[in-house]
Amino acid sequence: MSDQRQAWFARVVESGLQNDIFNPSDVLAHATPDVLANHLPPDLLSKVLTASLAAGSMTPERVLETVTPELLARHLPHEVLWSCIAAAAARAGVTNVVVS
């Protein structure tokens, strides 16, 4: 069940990005640097930093190129991802419900 839930959150985040329900900035508004730093494993943090250094900048898009939705769902608390999804849905006007 945990793997399935993780896969589902990964798929929902990926779909949200693909369908412009939210953008990488929205994701990082919830998956803050503090959250990332406390939950991503060291090798993944290293990759993020390496990619940013190579490109010369660190942008939300570049972070999510390295930390894919699948990795987000694997390492971050799902509540964080869900808050991003729910907030985007609220912005889209489909609901007033915001699950914190």
């Binding site: 929902v12 693909q18 869900w82 609901t95 007033n96 419900v97």
Partner: protein, 269 residues
Amino acid sequence: MNIKAFFVDALSSALELRIGTPDDVLRHVTPDVLAQHLPRPLWARLLTACLGAPRVDAQLVVDTVGVPNLCEHIPTSIIWACIAELGARALGKPIETPAAVVAAASQPVKSVLAPPPEIVKPTATPARGTPVAIGPSIPKPTPARGMPAQSEPDVVAPPDERPATTGSLRSRTPTGQRFRQSGGSNVRTLGGVTRRPQAAAATVPAVKPKRSEPTDYETETAVEAADWREKEIVVDDEQLVDWQADPGSAVSSAITGDDDFSDLGNRKR
């Protein structure tokens, strides 16, 4: 922003990964919601599948309609409510749904499967023989205690054919025993009032139909008047016909002894 594609992905993956079940979907996408929003061709497909399936359940509905069609036609607020429930359940949290959203989602809608509104029957000229209610203010006649209802006709019609009100503007002639049922003891009467046993009606002597007597005669030659036999008619000689003028005809019309005059009176008429 393609919110519907996002919903398709979220819902499809939830079903694939067993985050949610078709029952979860149909808890939000109720049959009434489907009836209101699903296009008729999809309804036709769904009905065909249900008729051909040995068991109809939420799985069949979702599989037949398809998640893309659900997300395409069902309001996004309802689809989102379903996804939000799945997300909250995945997180182990109860979802806080405002009352307004709940009311909007579960608002009773007018179903197409509901019976159509009652047809208002025209109150114009009723058909011949149809009992007509005298008026709304006239109470329904109730038989007196211990007395049979006098206004009821003797003909016992089936319950469906009995009018709601027995008041009739036109006196109805009993049509023989056409509507009488064979089982007299089980006959239901209006309002459940059981008819008391009645004595056999006395045999009414047959009344010979009164023949209309002519009183006025339009012509003087009316044979109905009997007094013409008593009058003596004056005839001039010029009006007499000489029957002997044509011998041939006289022979052919001659009266012989073989002629039968017994029915002379009948011939006259």
